[in-house]
């Protein structure tokens, strides 16, 4: 199908008073050049001191409170695992009666050992691990498990303290819907994944060679707090279409 691109862009160029030959603008002018002191800047961002990290955690907790999001610092991964077990004990599924939870296949999440600690007790734990090239059958299976689950457990790439924003990039075995469809979203991150600001986030995504390798992927999601709406008389209600509750465990040790 003709997508009209040529005429469309030509119309824009005419409107801007450009001839198509003058349209060449240096990429650097459009998208910026790497700052001269980028290595220093990156070093400042990546190697934060312990007190600086503590300050960021405090800022994160303070900001999260404003948006109804629980940030819970825990010393180590097994304490996080305990906390999640308690959460499962003390909460009820929204849609069915069976307690099912679904967790990302992810180095940090795997350490929670949820299958071992939670199974039995009438709790079912699903993992999103599949083959490297999942077929439609596998996708359908995960989707069904996802819809049965009332708690979704994920990690994140970063957490921006100034606005309490979790940043997730799409990867294999880490479906985006785990942080969206279940009624409760639990995220677990390490302390050093907390960053200060959006400015820091974009800087790292853009200039850090490690981050550039991954890129933004085909879906990068920012999550700040549980799903909410104020569409009826501006009354704030949590749990519009996404999770009603968002808990973030930060491993401090």
């Amino acid at each position: 199908m003709d997508n009209h691109q040529h005429d469309f862009i030509k119309t824009i160029q005419q409107a801007l008073g450009k001839s198509s030959s003058s349209a060449k603008v240096a990429q650097s002018e459009l998208f910026g050049t790497r700052p001269k002191d980028f290595e220093n800047q990156l070093d400042v961002y990546i190697n934060k001191s312990k007190p600086d990290r503590d300050t960021l955690l405090d800022l994160l907790i303070e900001q999260a409170e404003l948006i109804h999001m629980d940030v819970i610092p825990v010393e180590n991964i097994s304490l996080a695992s305990h906390a999640i077990q308690e959460l499962v004990q003390n909460t009820e599924p929204e849609w069915g009666s069976k307690k099912s939870i679904i967790a990302w296949q992810h180095p940090l999440i795997d350490q929670l050992n949820l299958k071992e600690t939670l199974s039995g007790n009438d709790v079912e734990v699903f993992s999103t691990q599949t083959s490297t090239k999942p077929d439609s059958e596998e996708r359908e299976k995960i989707r069904t498990q996802l819809l049965q689950s009332y708690i979704g457990i994920t990690s994140a790439d970063f957490c921006v303290a100034e606005s309490a924003t979790l940043v997730q990039r799409t990867r294999p075995n880490q479906p985006r819907a785990v942080s969206l469809v279940p009624s409760i979203h639990v995220a677990v991150i390490r302390m050093d994944q907390i960053i200060e600001s959006l400015k820091e986030l974009y800087f790292r995504l853009k200039w850090d060679p490690q981050e550039k390798k991954t890129g933004l992927t085909n879906c990068m999601t920012f999550i700040s707090g549980p799903s909410k709406t104020a569409d009826i008389e501006l009354v704030m209600v949590y749990g519009a279409h996404g999770p009603r509750q968002l808990l973030l465990y930060v491993i401090t040790g």
Binding site: L198, F222, L234
Partner: protein, 476 residues
């Protein structure tokens, strides 16, 4: 195309002002969001001045729109996304319909999108027997009620909880209850089924990023994430101006957009989407389509006087402070875009003469400029539109709105520039005003075309002796 009812602006305004329920709702929105946004700007580390920086970012993007759009679409195609450029509403809806029919789509879910309102997408789909479900709670409410949106980000703000409860009882068959959490839960339940069954999901685009090749969507409810993750096909509708160059431009713009729209530090969900899912990913759409829409925008771009309006990121902050919007509400504007932004952009889209009341109804108080996260000078453009209406304009095909008005102003201009004429006019006026109805030393009704001045207030009569004469006769 969306329905255009801009001609009934005046009648609609009268009705809206008499509607006490609407008046309460509008004051509620403006009292809460207007000052909260102003405070949020003050509390920015960079202060409200950050808006000027945002203005520059958007201006740079618009001035390089051709290259940025090409960069964006190249990257999206590299990831396997499909891109379609639509010159007008019909091309956009045709393309959508073709994709839907090719995939035998029976039911779709939609995230909130003003552009799809502008092109009248729902009507086209419904006419072709495709079920359309709006999923933003506000949009869902007005879809059930069969009404257009009355606010850019809070589309059902004119409805009370009582009205919503009655509507849901009737349409969803749930027990009557006015509790907003209960009503939200009912919609959550009803729409969850739709999300899971839908064959296709639609979204708008808040701000694309050319450098990385992503569109972005912003929501608080999570409905847009649902619409763009669960169905097999995701189609994005994007006004062609909604792109910026650099990734870091989003830092300034998202912080300001969130504050302008709802006085938040950050919207609940922001998604960067750059194509369909890859073969190793477990979810996300199999097909990704981006429709980029002109529909009158290139004409605005070509006019340096109005190009600035394309900087707009549709946050609705100007609605929340506008004294006119605060009284007449969104429906009065007769087109999906309301408030000060609607008063500028609607005439440019549908015809300046046809929508003349919109730009003439705004008070030029400047509140919208102050509230705008990207510091757009809407009052300047309102004045420019009025100038075109006063004098006519061939480029925009504007005919002079009123010959009589022009004649009056020419006469007035002659009179005040000549002392003798002016004195004669004052004396004649002072004599003739005796025949006008009055009360307590005030004139209660002006004659002929001046009646409007005394419709809701009395006017002070001309003094018997004017100030200049008094001054001259003053004994030292």
């Amino acid at each position: 195309m969306a329905e255009i009812n801009t001609e009934s602006y005046k009648q609609n305004a009268v009705k809206a002002i008499k509607d006490t329920v609407l008046q309460n709702a509008l004051s509620n929105v403006q009292d809460r969001l207007g000052p909260a946004t102003a405070l949020a700007y003050e509390n920015l580390p960079e202060g409200p001045e950050l808006r000027l920086k945002a203005h520059k970012i958007r201006e740079f993007a618009i001035n390089n729109l051709d290259i940025l759009l090409e960069t964006l679409v190249d990257k999206i195609r590299d990831r396997g996304g499909k891109v379609f450029f639509a010159q007008d509403a019909a091309q956009a809806t045709d393309y959508c319909l073709k994709v839907a029919q090719k995939n035998r789509v029976k039911m779709v879910v939609k995230g909130k999108s003003m552009v799809t309102e502008e092109i009248g997408l729902n009507k086209v789909l419904e006419a072709n027997r495709i079920e359309v479900n709006e999923t933003d709670l506000g949009e869902y409410i007005i879809q059930l009620a069969g009404e257009p949106p009355s606010h850019i980000i809070a589309p059902a703000i004119h409805k009370t909880r009582k009205q919503v409860a009655e509507l849901f009882t009737k349409e969803l068959g749930i027990p009557y209850c006015e509790d907003p959490p209960f009503l939200t839960q009912a919609a959550r339940k009803a729409l969850r089924e739709k999300f899971l069954k839908a064959d296709m999901g639609f979204s708008g685009c808040n701000l694309a990023c050319a450098e990385t090749g992503h569109i972005t969507t912003v929501s608080n409810e999570g409905n847009i994430r649902m619409s763009t993750t669960m169905p097999k096909i995701h189609m994005v509708f994007m006004g062609m101006e909604r792109v910026v160059a650099k990734l870091e431009d989003h830092d300034v713009l998202f912080r300001l957009l969130s504050r302008g729209a709802a006085a938040q530090n950050m919207a609940g969900y922001v998604s960067y989407i750059g194509g369909p899912r890859t073969e190793n990913q477990l979810d996300g759409p199999e097909e990704f389509h981006l429709v980029i829409l002109d529909n009158g925008r290139s004409k605005i771009l070509a006019d340096p006087e109005f190009r600035e309006v394309l900087l707009c990121i549709r946050c609705a902050a100007c609605l929340n402070v506008c004294p006119a919007y605060g009284k007449i509400g969104g429906h009065t504007y007769g087109y999906p875009y309301s408030g000060p932004i609607g008063a500028v952009i609607t005439p440019l889209f549908v015809g300046i003469n046809r929508a003349k009341d919109l730009c003439q109804g705004e008070p030029l108080c400047g509140a919208c400029k102050k509230a705008c996260p990207v510091d757009i000078d809407l009052p300047r453009m309102l004045l420019a539109l009025r100038a075109k209406l006063a004098d006519g304009d061939c480029k925009w095909n504007v005919t002079r709105a009123s010959r009589m008005e022009k004649l009056l102003f020419m006469t007035w201009s002659l009179v005040i520039r000549n002392r003798t004429f002016y004195n004669i006019a004052l004396k004649t006026g002072a004599m003739l005003q005796k025949f006008l109805p009055g009360q307590n030393g005030m004139i209660t009704q002006m004659p002929f075309g001046f009646k409007g001045w005394t419709r809701s207030r009395d006017i002070v009569p001309l003094a018997k002796t004017n100030f200049l004469t008094l001054w001259k006769n003053k004994k030292p």
